[in-house]
Symmetry: C2
Subunit: 451 residues, 2 copies
């Protein structure tokens, strides 16, 4: 099994290629056929190879190379972050997708973006054609530093670096701080893309259960002592997928543990602007000594406005800039100027006021309809777009998701795609903005009955 997985991982056996027959493989490796049969069967169960009756065994098409390294038993696409993301991105504009992680296009400030584009088209040459400064547009960094100050994160513009997105920001940090085999701590459940990313970094993932006030501190203390992770990657406000926000005492205790165990925390605050009132941030308490703060505007403004930011110690900013120059050269600052225009003109603030109100209505509606089907929220979020809820009667959310996609072309987000320990079998994450149509609940009801 290891031999075959290695050859797949090094691309000597490519996806879709036919494996040697059992007989040939056994002879070639000097093993008994039954050993090879067992190996092929287990690899097929893992989804790494596929059996095509009458034809033989082929390298499986659906796995990313990085899953080869650590394929969990019983691979099911519905819980694979990469597979789910692909489906969500390829789905029709009209298809039902309460499982997807972003707001509908119609909620985005289209007119305002058009206006900002026209403004940009009338500006001076440099913004349009030049490479930006390595750390990113100085005026935008100044503006962002000011905004962060209003959240009690007191940083200078020099402590900020702009990136394409918060995902790219976290990935850059992983490249800077991690070696293959390092241990990283995440929440259980957590944003599923963190898991896919950490697999790409060949990190060893451990997790801590999440509570409505933040991570389970007792469990975290044990985990840190046992596993000594290098990093903890998390959200503070409006946690993805649970919607929970950090309480002040949990934040404080976690930082004490971090200090005790020399743990670096990456706090991805991509949902910050969805809050109605401010809740604690690790970075605000810590002052960026061991917390790295990441954010972006792709959830609130537009996926097309490619600006993320990292706030951290000045010496790490310098190293991040060097790394960025080595691997990505430089991003144009088109998007940065667009964002600066929209932030500076008050456009963004007006948009957010409207968005928060709209989401609050959608949240209320969604919770009510879920309740009618016997689906209870684990925690009623204060804001944001996600609800984490449990199916009644021990229903399996993965099976439900597979059924709903096949029968109704409806994309759900089953709990186990978010849970490293796979202990969220009965849970679903709902995007309240994508759950407005009654058709969603009709399809959900029918699917639940069918199971």
């Amino acid at each position: 099994m290891h031999d075959i997985r290695q050859r797949i991982a090094t691309r000597n056996l490519c996806v879709g290629k036919r494996l040697p027959s059992i007989r040939v493989q056994a002879e070639g490796l000097g093993m008994s056929r039954s050993t090879v049969v067992e190996a092929y069967a287990r690899l097929a169960a893992l989804g790494i190879i596929e059996s095509r009756p009458g034809s033989g065994f082929y390298v499986g098409r659906q796995l990313s190379p990085f899953q080869m390294a650590e394929a969990p038993s019983g691979y099911r696409p519905a819980t694979d972050p990469v597979w789910v993301t692909r489906q969500a991105l390829l789905a029709d504009a009209d298809s039902l997708k309460p499982g997807c992680g972003w707001l509908p296009d119609s909620w985005m400030p289209e007119q305002e973006i058009r206006r900002a584009l026209r403004t940009l088209s009338r500006k001076a040459l440099a913004p349009l054609t030049a490479y930006g400064t390595p750390q990113g547009s100085p005026p935008l960094r100044q503006l962002l530093a000011h905004r962060l100050g209003e959240r009690n994160l007191h940083v200078s513009a020099e402590q900020l670096m702009l990136t394409e997105s918060s995902t790219q920001a976290v990935d850059l940090l992983c490249r800077l701080l991690l070696q293959p085999g390092d241990t990283v701590l995440v929440d259980d459940p957590c944003y599923f893309s963190f898991q896919a990313m950490l697999r790409a970094h060949r990190a060893h993932v451990v997790s801590v259960p999440y509570t409505p006030q933040g991570p389970d501190v007792k469990a975290m203390a044990e985990c840190l002592a046992t596993h000594r992770p290098r990093l903890y990657i998390t959200n503070a406000a409006l946690h993805n997928p649970t919607g929970a926000s950090l309480s002040l005492d949990v934040a404080h205790k976690v930082l004490m543990l971090a200090s005790q165990h020399d743990l670096t925390i990456i706090e991805d605050d991509v949902f910050a602007d969805f809050e109605h009132y401010r809740t604690p941030r690790y970075a605000a308490l810590d002052g960026l000594q061991r917390v790295v703060y990441v954010g972006s505007f792709s959830k609130t403004l537009s996926a097309s406005v490619r600006v993320g930011h990292i706030a951290t110690r000045a010496d790490w900013i310098e190293q991040l800039v060097d790394l960025k120059l080595a691997i990505a050269f430089e991003s144009g600052h088109f998007s940065a100027d667009l964002l600066h225009t929209m932030l500076g003109s008050g456009t963004y603030q007006r948009h957010m006021n409207s968005l928060r109100a709209r989401l609050a209505d959608a949240m209320g509606l969604c919770l009510e309809r879920l309740q009618r089907l016997g689906i209870e929220a684990w925690h009623r979020p204060d804001a944001g777009m996600f609800v984490w809820c449990q199916l009644p009667g021990g229903l399996d959310a993965t099976a439900l998701s597979e059924y709903a996609l096949a029968q109704h072309q409806m994309l759900l987000a089953p709990g186990n795609s978010f849970s490293p320990s796979q202990q969220a079998t009965g849970f679903l994450r709902f995007n309240v903005a994508q759950s407005l149509s009654p058709a969603v609940f009709e399809a959900l009801d029918q699917s639940m009955q069918a199971l």
Copy 2:
């Protein structure tokens, strides 16, 4: 030395931090002081730490973390790709920079980009706010597949994936295909950012001398047999920095060697549109079996139009998309739509006609002025922006560059920043579009006299 380098690499000792005194270090490690003195002296010579007289030793500020792994003896910023790039990006619009790697802002098609922006601002919603499809804008991929077909690269749109830039494309390919410690072959000299990137990937770099017809085939055969590199990363047309283009027989021989040694070739064709007439491409001969073809429009159109592309086997495209989804999520397709508009309207073609003519004039002028100073071109390029030339009288180009920056604030690109073997001590790469002002040659002349 290893202990200190490890602590720096794991960020326990950060840039600017003071090292323990020699006495404390010796006691702590159970070593003699003279051993520690020797270690500190060697680390200082490598530039990893700095001695501040009367104050002690400090972790050096200028090195990226990835140079820690393999710092060459006698580190000099002027030959460090990351350092040179930083300087170039931060330089004033007016400062002299014949060493920089891009065209002046004034050569970019500003009006046409404005116009395309206004067109974009009037279009339908989706281009403005949505996430793109994972592989990138289907209409743009169709258009690019068509353009590549005109260059004898027959690919389907399905074999293309869009990225932010060709640099990001090469980096993604390295993440897919390389493990730390793998050997990678580059040209000597080569695009210096390849070296910085490969250091970030912890790859072992070997190199093959370049000739005016392409790589030295005999040397390559020996290198492949000895080092068995996993990848060869190169340009075919208008090689950076030499400006040489591949001859058909060299292309053929290299592909035979690649086949013999199971070598994958990444061909970065970022200067394709600068050619007046077509020269051979590895990808055109090979049909994308073991050649991966990469391109972008940032050199010809604008650094702000963030579109690169990868053309390769369909099964590798699938794996690249999975990888991209895991680490970068998705790029908005703003830039893709802008590019599509400009390609479709004929704007780009008109711009390139004008650009090629302008560059040909600049090339002639530059070569003539260099000759007057006794600086000879190693090869007279057929097109493009670069000239690779040798200083007379055994002058050291690195020393000249350091002098020119200090005295004239003029940024030069010394040969050893491009040469992995550091055997280009007397060479410089000139960007003919950045060498139009007589001030460049006055400063160069004065600097040469001073040395």
